[in-house]
Amino acid sequence: MELYQLTAHQLHEKLVNKEVTAREITESIYNRIEAVEEDVKAYITLTKEDALKQADKVDEKIANGEEIGPLAGIPIAIKDNMSTEGVKTTCASKILHNYKPPYDATVIKKLSAEDYIMVGKTNMDEFAMGSSNENSGFYPTANPWDLTRVPGGSSGGSAAAVAAGEAIISLGSDTGGSIRQPAAFCGVVGMKPTYGLVSRYGLVAFASSLDQIGPFSKDITDCAIALNYIAGHDEFDSTSANREVPDYTASLNKDITGMKIGVPSEYFGDGIDQEVKDAVWTAIKKLEELGAEYEEVSLPHTEYALSAYYLIAPAEASSNLARYDGVRYGLRSEEVKGLVDMYKKTRQEGFGDEVKRRIMLGTYALSSGYYDAYYKKAQKVRTLVKQDFDRAFEKYDVLISPTTPTTSFKAGAKKDPLEMYLSDICTIPINLAGIPALSMPCGLDSNGLPIGLQIMGNHFGEEKILQIAHAFEQATDFHKKRASL
């Protein structure tokens, strides 16, 4: 087996036992990138030179007999909406095509402290708006399982990078499903932690009250390890939770006997593909075999979640994206007459259609006279959605549903934005409620495409999610299946 096919915990063992060097691992990743990147297009920027230097540093530490952590020497890909000092951070938007931040995001600082190796910055839907990675301002990313299909969005590049062996782990961001949906489409593990568990400092904001950074990995153990190192309070993020971070790997091997699973009926409705439903039910039955109990439960406000989301997220986005005006960095339109003209032309040239659509939607929802009818109403719905979950978690340890209504669709297949928005219908309520959720592979459809299982937990209930997920993983082989690229 090639090194790029292994997990972080496998590689760590080999590093510690001096079976391989960090340089060999890194070179294996870049060789793989050379072989497949032309087809996959998972990356916007590669940082090979720095990566090899970093690998040598790790090898030196090992040679000197220094102890290394589980992420030392592990090649990790970073979604291109996380600030990396001196390395382009474009958000896949023309408006930031040349922007190099002067500072590192908190997650980057934390990973750097662990001697991780940054492979590069991954492709995404522009400013994290999209469900297919077709909205990148540069080029779309392909699904490694079928290059004619989409990897999902908006962290499609990060998901595809792990699925294609172009990174061992990657970071994505999830505003309405942007980690879990591409994880499902690409057959990898993806987790959106509780809002506030991972610092957002340095994450270029899409919708501040919904965004959360999380990891992609090949298996649950790697997910837990990555979470261990990115979670925790940050004094630079007022919304970050000030509470002790547990060791997430510690809960992995705990018995799940007696755990209570709720199965929300609203997530198995008409829009959900039968093959997907079947696979998820099979998984639930499997968990029952392993000792868990399940029961159907109703989350009655689920049907309003999508509408509320598409008011709140664009409203915040319209404000967050107003700073891209050509005054200080990024694109500035040339041949402009005066300040207002500069704003208009810069934004007209710099933003893609989906971003413009949401800015307009959000501006409208916040404007005087419409605020109460749209934004405020949406916030009320958000509270109701949250209360649905609160009630459910009084009774159940986790909830289980499909991650996506369908498996990956063909590139260009969804022309209508509304149809595209529906692909996040199972993931969006989780962001509104701020709870954690994970997607992991639970089967393949008749086209041989991965199916995602979504496990949701209560606020800061990551441990239970990982415990159930790990039990399922140990009892099945889905996580071992790789895209044949």
Partner: protein, 483 residues
């Protein structure tokens, strides 16, 4: 002047808080640095950065709210006010909309006729300041380039919004001065209008007297001098009345005050006004204040101008007007009290402070902190007067010398030989000479023109270069002239 009409003024006063660092980041909050030297990714609003609230700013606004008799909200939150401008890096200002820290306050002002008046304060909220544009050329319209200085971005600002209780320029100025005085007392801001630490948006409307509805208002933005505000408040209502009288309508909008031309100029109309699209700031959690903590802040409040004024009148027995003038400025009042401690004649001290002292401060345009002599020196000078060592006229000279050099009055009197001449025989000799030199005046006096007496006093003082003891001169002269 406003025949048949009443004007109503609303004031929104912006005051920069004197915290060490900015409101949402660790950059220095300091006026006068090289452009863009006090900036970081956070205050520049670079992608991905987040604000973290400076607790000192909250302490200061609560202090201000308590000093201005406000209710303090224990649950408060921040909102975003969205608009595009080159000096606003995030294209929104973090401010407060529906849940400000302070509401329902008031201050008392004294009018020139001695009447007290209560002016209501609707709210005080906390927000961040924007940067500053420096336009090449004459102004924004004619310049071909503009440079932005972001040092001021993120300076903590409080906005104090008044109730529409103000109906004259005098009331408006008295209100502004009272607010300034109180904020200086509690030490939350230097309120330096020339540096923009205090500036006001002024809303003006007129309505027929007795009307229960306010007229359409116009707004003057960013006024930063009392004089200009006063002039504008005299001009704008007249302009509005003229428009109304000629059958026109007041257009609601923003005006600027052209100080040179002495008139208001339209800037933008209501149609062009911003829709700020306020919504709760998702990057900051709501602020929950502990009642005990608020009470702790209340305990740190110093004696405020109104209380001090009352004490001066009641305990020191100085006139209400003097007390008001002196207590308006905390440094002035502190200085006054320090002199009173050394010399038990409050009225005499207040006369000097309000007279020559204030005049010289104005002429030299320096602050009390920069004054060279000590309060004890003034007390010493007053003692010299009481003892008859110097006359009140000489005291003026001594005071000016003290002010200019910081030397103590004993030294000045000694060095300049200013000691009063109280020696009877010496004075008699001088007066004899004065009379001898002015025989015709003597005849006038003796002929019944008693007004000439003053002339002889003057001549005697001249001959002694002001050092003669006036009481004694008076006595000796009268005796000699009466012959």
């Amino acid at each position: 002047m406003l025949d048949g009409y009443e004007m109503t003024v609303g004031l929104e006063i912006h005051v920069q808080l004197d915290t060490d660092t900015k409101i949402f980041c660790g950059c220095k909050n300091e006026f006068g640095a090289e452009p863009n030297n006090h900036t970081c990714p956070i205050c520049l609003g670079l992608p991905g950065t987040l604000p973290v609230l400076n607790e000192k700013a909250v302490e200061y606004i609560v202090k201000a709210g308590l000093a201005l008799n406000c209710e303090i909200n224990t649950f408060s939150k921040f909102d975003r006010k969205n608009y595009f401008y080159a000096d606003l890096p995030k294209a929104y200002q973090i401010s407060q909309f529906d849940l400000p820290f302070c509401e329902d306050g008031h201050v008392m002002i004294q009018l020139e006729d001695g009447a007290d008046m209560k002016i209501g304060i609707t709210r005080i909220h906390l927000e961040e300041d924007a940067g500053k544009l420096n336009h090449a050329g004459e102004g924004i319209a004619s310049s071909d380039s503009s440079l932005v200085d972001y040092n001021r971005v993120g300076t903590p600002l409080i906005e104090i919004v008044s109730e529409p209780d103000i109906h004259s320029p005098e009331q408006a100025i008295a209100y502004l001065k009272k607010i300034k005085s109180i904020l200086e007392y509690i030490g939350v801001s230097d309120c330096d209008m020339s540096q923009g630490s205090m500036r006001a948006d002024v809303n003006i409307s007129v309505a027929p007297k007795g009307s229960d509805k306010l007229g359409t208002r116009t707004e003057l933005k960013n006024m930063n001098s009392f004089k200009a505000i006063e002039k504008a408040l005299k001009y704008e209502p007249k302009r509005q009345i003229k428009v109304l009288e000629s059958g026109g309508e007041i257009i609601q909008g923003t005006l600027t005050w052209d100080d040179e031309a002495g008139k208001t100029i339209p800037m933008r109309s209501k149609e062009e006004a911003h829709d700020y699209r306020y919504f709760p700031e998702p990057d900051l959690v709501p602020v929950i204040l502990d009642q005990e903590w608020i009470e702790g802040i209340r305990e740190t409040l110093p004696e405020l101008p109104d209380a001090r004024q009352k004490r001066y009148v009641e305990e020191l027995g100085i006139p209400e007007y003097d007390a008001m003038v002196i207590t308006a400025d905390r440094e002035m009042a502190d200085f006054f009290e320090a002199v009173v401690e050394e010399h038990n004649d409050a009225k005499a001290i207040s006369n000097w402070i309000m007279g020559d002292f204030s005049r010289l401060l104005n002429e030299e345009s320096i602050t009390i902190a920069e004054v060279k002599f000590k309060p004890a020196d003034l007390a010493k000078m007053l003692k010299l007067m009481d003892e008859g060592t110097i006359s009140s006229k000489i005291a003026k000279t001594v005071f000016e010398e003290m002010f200019a050099t910081g030397k103590d009055p004993d030294t000045i009197v000694e060095e300049k030989g200013l000691k009063q001449i109280s020696d009877t025989s010496e004075l008699e000799k001088i007066i004899d000479q004065v009379i001898a030199d002015n025989q015709s005046a003597l005849e006038d006096y003796r002929g019944g023109n008693k007004n000439v007496f003053g002339f002889f006093i003057g001549q005697t003082m001249k001959a002694t270069r002001g050092k003669a003891n006036p009481g004694m001169v008076n006595k000796i002269l009268r005796e000699k002239l009466e012959g």
